[in-house]
């Protein structure tokens, strides 16, 4: 059987590779954890894969800007491979540190299909500190992002010290206009947080939590969908379970919204390439 092949980067301080690989598997892909050195040393060929995952962690300790050194290294060694990967319509997702790497590579936001320009930055949280917290997200239903199809709202955890998205006003306006702002931090009801802490945990402009490129194939977000791989990950699960029980329902343990996001990616590849 042909299967979607997902490459999950590892090494140099990245640390979400195991659960991200699991999330891709639960979504139907075959996951490969590949060390950055194996990729840049061409022991592993990027073209053998359909989906490239830049996962979370602290690459190079996040010294000198989160995701910066990872981006410089990849651009330096396999910049062209990355561009051809993207040009073939394959998928790239960057989560947290991976999102930071994507904007530093210039693969995001990819305005005007320009994939090497850095026009968005992800910088220190306004609160001045690292923060672990679950956030409510609102998805733009008109976004071209292939990962969020059918997802209107989602809860995922953020875990970062540098998650504040900033860009020049024109860039932000363009991103909004072209529906490249995939996820915004929101309240429980799904209304944008409007900058209010802690709903918006980092002070991101326009509550931006995740953006995609114009094709919707490249997606970066600060929250961690892979950390919602099981129903018990959600901070309210014990309450939800109890409420469902009182209504005489059995507790829903189907795909979480975290796995759904990866499944959308896998489905898109299946449709597109198989």
């Amino acid at each position: 059987m042909i299967q979607v092949q997902a490459l999950i980067l590892t090494g140099f301080g990245l640390n979400c590779d195991h659960e991200t690989a699991l999330a891709c598997e639960l979504a139907g892909a075959r996951s490969h954890r590949v060390h950055i050195n194996a990729l840049v040393g061409r022991k592993v060929k990027l073209s053998d894969f359909h989906m490239l995952v830049f996962g979370g962690g602290f690459s190079w300790g996040d010294d000198h800007g989160a995701g910066v050194i990872q981006a410089v290294k990849l651009k330096n060694h396999i910049g062209d491979d990355l561009l051809s990967f993207v040009a073939e319509g394959k998928l790239v997702i960057g989560i947290c540190n991976g999102f930071q790497a994507l904007v530093n590579l210039g693969l995001l936001p990819g305005l005007d299909h320009e994939y090497t320009r850095r026009s968005v930055a992800i910088t220190y949280n306004d609160c001045g500190n690292f923060r672990d917290q679950w956030v409510h997200l609102k998805a733009d239903p008109d976004s071209p992002c292939v990962f969020t199809k059918g997802i209107r709202t989602a809860d995922y955890p953020v875990r970062h010290g540098e998650g504040k998205v900033i860009a020049d006003p024109e860039v932000v306006a363009a991103l909004r206009a072209r529906h490249q702002v995939v996820f915004q931090y929101a309240d429980k009801q799904g209304h944008p947080a409007e900058g209010k802490f802690p709903l918006n945990p980092n002070g991101s402009v326009q509550d931006i939590a995740g953006i995609c490129d114009p094709t919707g194939n490249i997606f970066g977000l600060m929250p961690h969908p892979e950390a919602y791989n099981h129903v018990t990950n959600h901070p309210d699960w014990t309450r939800q379970k109890q409420w469902q029980k009182r209504r005489g329902q059995t507790f829903d343990t189907q795909d979480t919204k975290g796995i759904q996001l990866f499944r959308n990616g896998v489905d898109c590849i299946t449709e597109r390439f198989f």
Binding site: G61, R131, D168, T232
Partner: protein, 1004 residues
């Protein structure tokens, strides 16, 4: 030779962007010192000491060090206005993590290798504006907020001092030792001579060990042996080896010592031959026989328990107190990164899956005359940040943690760090918990390099503080380097390349090789092969250096190539530095010459046990009595006052800074409830994401009870840890324990430690309680450590030095395996209309309680644990949870029933209507304050849905489980009816939350 150029790249956020680092400085300057800074900006500096061309420097500046969207940068000093500028840089030899990653990035980008005399150094300068600011204020900020002289240096520039052409004029902080490595021969012509040398060289040899050491080296057979390798009298390398191995830190001399225990009241006299053997080893081994799940205990870097059919979990706990007191950030990060090496070095290596912390510090608002090395407030800031960077950057979730305050910790604060790992039962066809070294195996050192840092850390932590304590042992852990090594070693493990593995912690190579070579019975080590951070280290320094992030691994010669290839792919440095042998000798060489040659069994040569007098004065003999407190009138105010107490109130801001979700296995988080802000009883994590089992974990610290009796301190601590596990869904059948003792010095000295015998008796009693509780609850001690010198000598108002000792403290960690995480429970009441039960009996047990402490009282009625009754109750509650009867369950802990009802109401954001007269009590006469605040053990608050009421009550029949009230709507708040029938507490959820969040609520 091309002339080297020193160039500093300056980087700052663009004007107008929020500079979080500078803002934090402005806030702290105002809050801590009342210094008003109008505005500030922070400039990051990267000083490159190399021969890079200008074009290359430009390239690295633009591509690596400058974000075009947010930053400005320059190869010369940035033009930023200031009234004052404070520059902070590391001292030479201090680990500069960003400097190292910068070097790695530049090497990769430019395809160059930095030579030995090149380097990169990072520093910062803060540009401060404020017309009224003075130089002395700048010095205060530099010294007491921005830098620590142990690791950093600073310069202060006024705007008129500043020459933009010269800028901060940063000199590379390079270590230049200018010293030819050598070893010394030590004179042992008399005990006195050796004792003197021990003092001079900071060897901390015990006087009673000295004759044994001399006898060995004067033995004619030994002399003849040594002659063959060109040695006669002992070398400094050898004595350092003995000193490390015999230190209390490595050898646990206290716990293996002889205690002459005497109870003043009863006249009971007992000789305790080894607290470790009697109260830790024996019960644990006995329980190992009974419990299939206990896999490996009492010998390895961490204990091993069975997790599921295919995996084992490993656990250990450590403290890192002394270094954290001198340099809080560096000490704490080194502590957590250090304890994370223990699971990596357990069996054939475990993958880390969670960690936890316990901080004990002085009053953060202390304004008295004593001068600790760091003010408690600054110290707490530093240790929080150190554990944050160390834990988060290791990719390990910190799922549990506690912070507590007591004046005794101002002498020395405590930093507990605990690590858990998971490993497959079988690795490449071998049981993963077994390992050994065999003659012919290569000795490999992987990870970081060796420098002067950490030398004599072990012996220093085995001493209490004096003004002469050397600061050189303070280090800064490097989680990045260690994470790379962690990933690398797990691949080696899975390929079956590892024969033996252990970490380099206290004692460095001396401990790791010294101990692992015992198994093969010998080794040859070539110290000149050990990669160094800089030249000029003497042999003994290489041997005992505690430079971090290093593991020692035994590898078969046939596996070497594959091992090295993986090492290279993971960008980890690994070096063969010797070989295990079976010669019976520890043989250390440097460039072909022998510098140490001693028998592997030297440490068994009859070194004497330490001896202590332990004299117990029971509380009544010490004049402790129950305070006389009449029933309060304003319980609302009393409840809020209790909730505002530092040891009760919310410390959410600390937990939030720790990633508790990474690895994707979080089931019960450290903070729970509707608003995710109430500390959970315990955490539950799925280390194996494809399975349904979970690992429940709790920790308890109740040092206050030691004011009355450390025996009950210990039993209460263990009972609470067990109770916490049960509340979230843990099982009585599987409870693992880890004991971390932190004690003031118990060695008697009429001048410096007159009350040593009492503290020694407290230790004996705590150990007896440890055994009693562990046997009662069948808890094998999977791991444990002790830190015996929790005292400080602090300078006071008149230049006097006052000894400040901590309370006798034990942190107890407990684990349980949850069969199905879907049955786990949180403490928040979930539905109005549910019934509220109190399980367990409340007695008049307010001794050393939070309530008495509110009035500055101690009392005597300390909580006593009824193991038999509690165990029956715990099994019943476990059964109830396993059959999904309760909607919530919460262990009543510090602060008593009243406080824990309040926590539940806040967590559920629901009201609760409670009738105190229904609470199961030891006597009918208990007054309302006793019922609300007594800290009796073995109690829970449980809520149950109406349709579960009957089955739940049937299950609990005959037990002290009583229906005490209802869960109500949020608007009704917490209403508690007293025993006289009147409502004594009536507080809204908001009022409770206001009080609970008051002390630290504005901290983020």
């Amino acid at each position: 030779m091309v002339d080297k150029m020193i160039c500093s790249i300056e980087i700052a956020l663009k004007q107008g962007l929020r500079d979080a680092e500078a803002s934090s400085l402005v806030t702290k300057a105002k809050d801590y010192f009342g210094i008003q800074i109008a505005s500030a900006r922070c400039v990051h500096m990267v000083t490159i000491d190399s021969d890079l061309k200008i074009s290359d420097l430009e390239r690295v500046r633009q591509q690596i060090f400058t974000n075009p969207v947010t930053q400005v940068s320059s190869l010369s000093s940035l033009d930023i206005d200031f009234h004052w500028c404070i520059w902070i840089g590391f001292r030479p030899g201090v680990k500069d993590n960003p400097g190292a990653t910068a070097m790695e990035a530049i090497e990769d980008l430019l395809g160059k290798r930095f030579g030995q005399h090149e380097g990169i150094y990072t520093s910062k300068r803060y540009c401060l504006n404020g017309k009224t600011l003075t130089r002395s204020q700048m010095e205060k900020l530099a010294k007491e907020l921005l830098s620590n002289p142990i690791i950093q240096q600073f310069k202060i520039f006024s705007s008129s001092d500043w020459d933009p052409k010269i800028g901060a004029d940063v000199k590379p902080a390079r270590v230049i030792l200018d010293h030819t490595p050598c070893f010394d021969i030590i004179d042992i012509d008399s005990d006195h001579t050796l004792a003197q040398i021990s003092d001079q060289r900071n060897l901390a040899l015990n006087p009673r060990d000295i004759p044994i050491i001399r006898n060995y080296f004067l033995d004619p057979d030994v002399i003849a042996d040594r002659k063959q390798v060109g040695l006669s009298r002992p070398t400094d390398v050898e004595l350092e080896y003995i000193s490390q191995a015999r230190s209390d830190h490595c050898n646990h001399n206290t716990f293996n010592g002889i205690f002459r225990y005497k109870d003043i009241l009863t006249g009971e006299e007992t000789i305790e031959h080894s607290l470790f053997k009697t109260y830790i080893q024996q019960p644990t081994l006995a329980l190992k026989e009974k419990k299939d799940w206990v896999v490996s205990v009492l010998w390895d870097n961490a204990g091993v328990g069975a997790f599921d059919e295919d995996n084992h979990y490993v656990i250990t706990g450590e403290t890192h107190n002394s270094p954290s007191n001198m340099e809080a950030y560096g000490g704490a990060i080194t502590g957590i990164v250090g304890v994370y090496r223990d699971p990596m070095g357990t069996g054939l290596g475990a993958k880390l899956f969670m960690g936890s912390f316990g901080f004990c510090v002085g009053d953060v608002n202390y304004a008295g005359p004593l001068k600790p090395p760091l003010h408690p407030r600054r110290l707490l800031d530093g240790i929080i940040e150190g554990v944050k960077d160390g834990g988060n950057k290791s990719g390990v979730p910190t799922t549990f943690g506690q912070t507590l305050f007591d004046p005794g910790y101002m002498g020395k604060s405590l930093v507990f760090v605990t690590a858990l790992g998971i490993m497959p039962r079988q690795v490449a066809g071998r049981p993963s918990h077994e390992k050994k070294t065999t003659p012919g195996d290569l000795i490999i050192m992987s990870g970081g390099r060796v420098g002067k840092d950490g030398i004599h850390g072990v012996t220093a932590s085995s001493e209490s503080y004096s003004e002469n304590t050397p600061a050189g042992h303070v280090q800064i852990g490097d989680p990045y380097t260690q994470k790379k090594m962690h990933d690398f070693l797990l691949e080696c493990r899975d390929e079956g390349l590892i024969q033996f593995i252990t970490d380099n912690g206290g004692g460095g190579l001396s401990s790791s090789i010294g101990e692992s070579a015992m198994i093969s019975n010998g080794c040859v080590v070539h110290l000149d092969k050990v990669p160094l951070k800089y030249e000029g280290l003497d042999m003994w320094e290489i041997w005992v250096s505690e430079s971090q992030e290093r593991m020692t691994i035994a590898v078969k010669p046939a596996d070497l190539d594959r091992f090295m290839a993986l090492s290279c792919e993971h960008a980890v440095e690994s070096t063969v530095i010797g070989e295990y042998t079976d010669t019976g000798k520890l043989h250390i060489m440097y460039q072909g010459n022998t510098c140490a040659y001693v028998d592997m069994d030297l440490l068994d040569k009859g070194f004497p046990a330490w001896e202590f007098d332990a004299v117990w004065l029971p509380p009544e003999a010490r004049g402790l009595f129950e305070p006389v407190i009449r029933r309060p009138k304003d319980f609302n105010a009393l409840m809020t006052a209790m909730l505002e107490r530092p040891n009760i109130c919310s410390k959410e801001w600390i937990l939030r800074q720790y990633d508790h979700e990474v690895q994707g296995g979080s089931v019960i988080k450290p903070l729970v409830g509707v608003n995710h802000n109430i500390p959970s009883d315990a955490s539950v994590t799925r280390p194996v994401l494809t399975g349904k089992k979970g690992l429940a974990f709790s920790q308890t610290l109740l040092p206050w009870y030691s004011k009355i009796d450390a025996y009950h301190m210990m039993t209460c601590t263990i009972d609470e840890a067990v109770r916490r596990l049960i509340s979230v869904g843990g099982s009585v059948a599987h409870i693992g324990g880890v004991d971390n003792f932190c004690w003031p010095d118990i060695g008697y000295d009429p001048h410096t430690n007159p009350d040593a015998a009492f503290k020694a008796a407290q230790l004996v009693r705590a150990c007896r309680a440890l055994k009693d509780a562990c046997m009662a609850y069948e808890i094998p001690l999977l791991s444990g450590k002790d830190s015996m010198y929790v005292d400080g000598h602090l300078e006071g108002a008149f230049g006097e030095r006052i000894k400040v000792s901590a309370l006798e403290t034990v942190q107890f960690s407990a684990t349980s395996v949850v069969a199905d995480v879907m049955r786990c429970l949180t403490l928040d009441p979930k539905v109005p209309g549910d019934f509220v039960y109190v399980a367990g009996i409340t007695g008049n047990e307010l001794g050393a309680s939070e309530y008495y402490d509110l009035f500055g009282k101690t009392g005597r009625h300390i909580p006593r644990v009824n193991f038999t009754a509690n165990k029956i109750l715990y099994k019943t509650v476990e059964k109830a949870i396993q059959t999904e009867m309760p909607a919530s369950c919460h262990a009543i802990a510090r602060g008593g029933l009243g406080i824990h009802l309040a926590l539940m109401a806040m967590a559920g954001e629901l009201g609760m209507q409670i009738d105190l007269s229904k609470v199961p009590a030891a006597a009918d006469t208990l007054s309302d304050d006793v019922l609300l605040f007594s800290e009796s053990t073995g109690r829970f608050i449980i809520t149950v849905a109406p349709d579960q009421k009957a089955v739940f009550e049937k299950l609990c029949k005959g037990l002290a489980v009583q229906y005490v009230g209802m869960v109500t709507e949020k608007k009704d708040g917490l209403q508690i009816k007293g025993t006289r029938g009147d409502v004594i507490v009536n507080l809204s959820c908001a009022a409770l939350a206001d009080a609970f969040n008051k002390p630290f609520g504005d901290m983020i």
